[in-house]
Amino acid sequence: MALSHLGASASRSSSLLKPLSSALSLRRPISGDNSPLTVETSVPFTSHQCEAPSRSVETNPKELLTFFRDMALMRRMEIAADSLYKAKLIRGFCHLYDGQEAVAVGMEAAITKKDCIITAYRDHCTFVSRGGTLLEVFAELMGRQAGCSKGKGGSMHFYKKDSNFYGGHGIVGAQVPLGCGLAFAQKYSKDETVTFALYGDGAANQGQLFEALNISALWDLPAILVCENNHYGMGTAEWRAAKSPAYYKRGDYVPGLKVDGMDALAVKQACKFAKEHALKNGPIILEMDTYRYHGHSMSDPGSTYRTRDEISGVRQERDPIERIRKLILSHDLATEKELKDVEKEVRKEVDDAIAQAKESPMPEPSELFTNVYAKGLGVESFGADRKEVRATLP
């Protein structure tokens, strides 16, 4: 459980202050540069049926600063969404990702926009890391026209086709067979790309997952199943829902890797490794050991099934943004003040996006009936009076 990490983390933070090698000792301007830097991950990887990648991650100041900025943006965005929900501008279900930002950011650093990502309903940050704008996020959350799904989808239905982000799904576990289907299409078109199908520890007990995994292994599909294990499936702790909470091992014949999901560099390393593996050998499972600070959704306080001490403990010891901040400061890549300025900038960006989203109008009534079918493809004839007769071939 999450509590077991609190003890080990004390030793982890000390290792951050002693970088293995650093090409520079002088501080460069905050925009950073690409000179290589090697950092050790917080904990070594645990593997199942494969050889774990090395703990040393190649990175550079620019990347670290980008991580910091992106995660700060996501954190700010989720907290802003919390306030908007309480102000009743966002209704229905709203599942927040704060605490888990490292997974989205680390994964993106290891892949290209041609690789596909599909996830469940906790999708705001993954959407942003795939290139979605804050305006699209807030407008969709508020049900406005400028939203990524034109206001018709809502929090659980963010998609971005041009950067291969396939959503955004409300039914637990249903996205995993879809993800394996994406991998099948990639293999079919010989793209040399992979699919990351994300799901949670709650969804790990869905039968359709194992069905899809079996088929992917049988057909050697480049599918990477990523279990974002935040240890709670809504109100049920992982040990109460799964006989074996070692999700990375549950693929049995499919190799797996357990990763510290609060360490963006570890996530990056693991995803890089997984991509190489999947392209050669077929499916692999990654278990990201992560944590969510909010409850399951905005209607769940998040404190009836876990203690506040646990939550604040994780926040103190393992927070992904703090880890990167310490890394940046210890390597002298930026000053405290500069990082704080980044956070201020990010805050302003979020506020501006919200203001802009509020200006966006609600959808037109006619939008109720658009996009039910894909029309205009040349062969239609609907209606009692055949008003929509059309039979020209494209």
Partner: protein
């Protein structure tokens, strides 16, 4: 003749704002207790108001002492609005919210019969995502209130398997939409085993959960599964709409030897009502006379009942006398009550939340036309939701669902 329907009071008032404003702001999503009625109606206040629900009808007359329903009310069809049973003077009952009524029913049945158990996601330690099973795990233990992993197909199948041996599980779908994953189990096993085994096995299972269009829950969480399940032979479907019938139907469903699917509605959990202290059940196959009338029969169920009652106020003011029947039993239909009503009024309006295509309304139209065509003076009108996935945007979602203004317009058209 019929008293003005202010009895549903708080609940209708709270729901009214959903039709008027473009951004509904009433607090239905929260769990606060509803305040007493005060909102935007210009209905003349009457000194007494009546809520007709059952044969032993409840009289919410504030001036006189409320009179009680009889012991074990099994008949839910009212005769007249003002009739009340010859009952002994008893306590006026107790007030509670709909989800508490469901819980009470469940708890009483669990106490009464040790074979009743509950299974579902987060029903035990968490207390249920809508608090229907709150406190039951502490009271009855982990073996009778089971927290399942997220595996609907499996645990529904397991519930059916357990029922085959004589246990009486109550399976909760956290949202009815999730039960689509268990469709095979419900259709092939739950519905058909009694038949295919030549009567050897009965499946006394209750499958329940909230469904329907909520407050901007998104397309996948706003589904109306009653239209998908209605073809399955061998199951019974009921929809509760008030705390009184929620408790009654829950108890009856658990006691029934047949598989029953109990449809609750996400937006109705906080309805408040006074219900009897005594043990009572509601008949599973009977419809409920909500408001007797002469001009037109309005058939509805679940949340649309409240939209209809709100429209009824406007209609009464305009001089119409609608007869409102909450059909409650979605499979099989109570054609007796419906038929009697059609024979009286000769005009039928169906108001449902299902989609137009293949919904409960569609089947009801077919059933009424087949059986009572001669009594109809006008074609049956059916108001249903649009055939679209429920959009997230509040304004679009409102237009998806039938609103009271549309009901009023439909009655006016029907009664021309």
């Amino acid at each position: 003749m019929a008293a003005t329907f202010h009895g549903v009071g708080a609940t209708v008032a709270a729901l009214s704002s959903s039709s008027s404003s473009s951004s509904p702001s009433n607090s239905f999503g929260s769990k606060k207790l509803l305040s007493s009625p005060s909102r935007s109606f210009s209905v003349r206040k009457r000194a007494s108001f009546t809520m007709v629900r059952s044969e032993g009808s409840m009289n919410f007359d504030l001036n006189s002492k409320g009179r009680r329903a009889q012991q074990l009310i099994a008949n839910a069809v009212a005769t007249k609005a003002d009739s009340s049973p010859a009952s002994s003077s008893s306590k006026p009952g107790h007030e509670l919210l709909l989800f508490e009524a469901l819980r009470e029913g469940l708890e009483e049945e669990m106490e009464r019969d040790p074979r009743v158990c509950v299974m579902g996601e987060d029903v035990g330690h968490y207390g249920g995502s809508y608090k229907v099973t709150k406190g039951l795990a502490t009271k009855f233990g982990d073996l009778r209130v089971l927290d399942t992993p997220i595996a609907e197909n499996s645990f529904t199948g397991m519930g059916i398997g357990a029922a085959m041996t004589g246990l009486r599980p109550v399976v909760e779908g956290m949202n009815m939409g999730f039960l689509l994953l268990a469709f095979n189990q419900i259709s092939n096993n739950c519905g058909m085993l009694h038949y295919t085994s030549g009567g050897q096995f009965t499946i006394p299972i209750v499958i329940r959960g909230p469904g329907g269009v909520g407050r901007q829950l998104g397309a996948e969480h706003s589904q109306r599964l009653e239209s998908y399940f209605q073809s399955i032979p061998g199951i019974q479907m009921v929809a509760c709409s008030t705390p009184y019938n929620a408790k009654g139907l829950m108890k009856a469903a658990i006691r029934s030897e047949n598989p029953v699917i109990l449809f609750e509605h996400v937006l109705l959990y906080n309805l408040k009502e006074r219900i009897p202290d005594e043990d009572y059940i509601c008949n599973l196959e009977e419809a409920e006379m909500v408001r007797p009338g002469e001009h037109v029969t309005i058939l509805t169920y679940s949340r649309m009942r409240y939209h209809v009652m709100q429209a009824a106020k406007t209609l009464v003011n305009k001089g119409y006398d609608p007869e409102v029947i909450d059909i409650r039993s979605l499979k099989p239909f109570d054609l007796y009550t419906i038929g009697n009503s059609v024979k009286k009024t000769h005009r039928v309006l169906i108001v449902e939340e299902c989609m137009r295509t293949g919904g409960i309304g569609a089947s009801l139209i077919a059933a009424i036309t087949e059986n009572f065509n001669d009594y109809l003076d006008a074609p049956i009108m059916c108001l249903s939701s649009q055939d679209v996935p429920t959009p997230y945007a509040g304004t679009l979602e409102e237009w998806t669902v039938v609103q009271p203004a549309q009901i009023v317009a439909a009655v006016e058209q029907l009664c021309q």
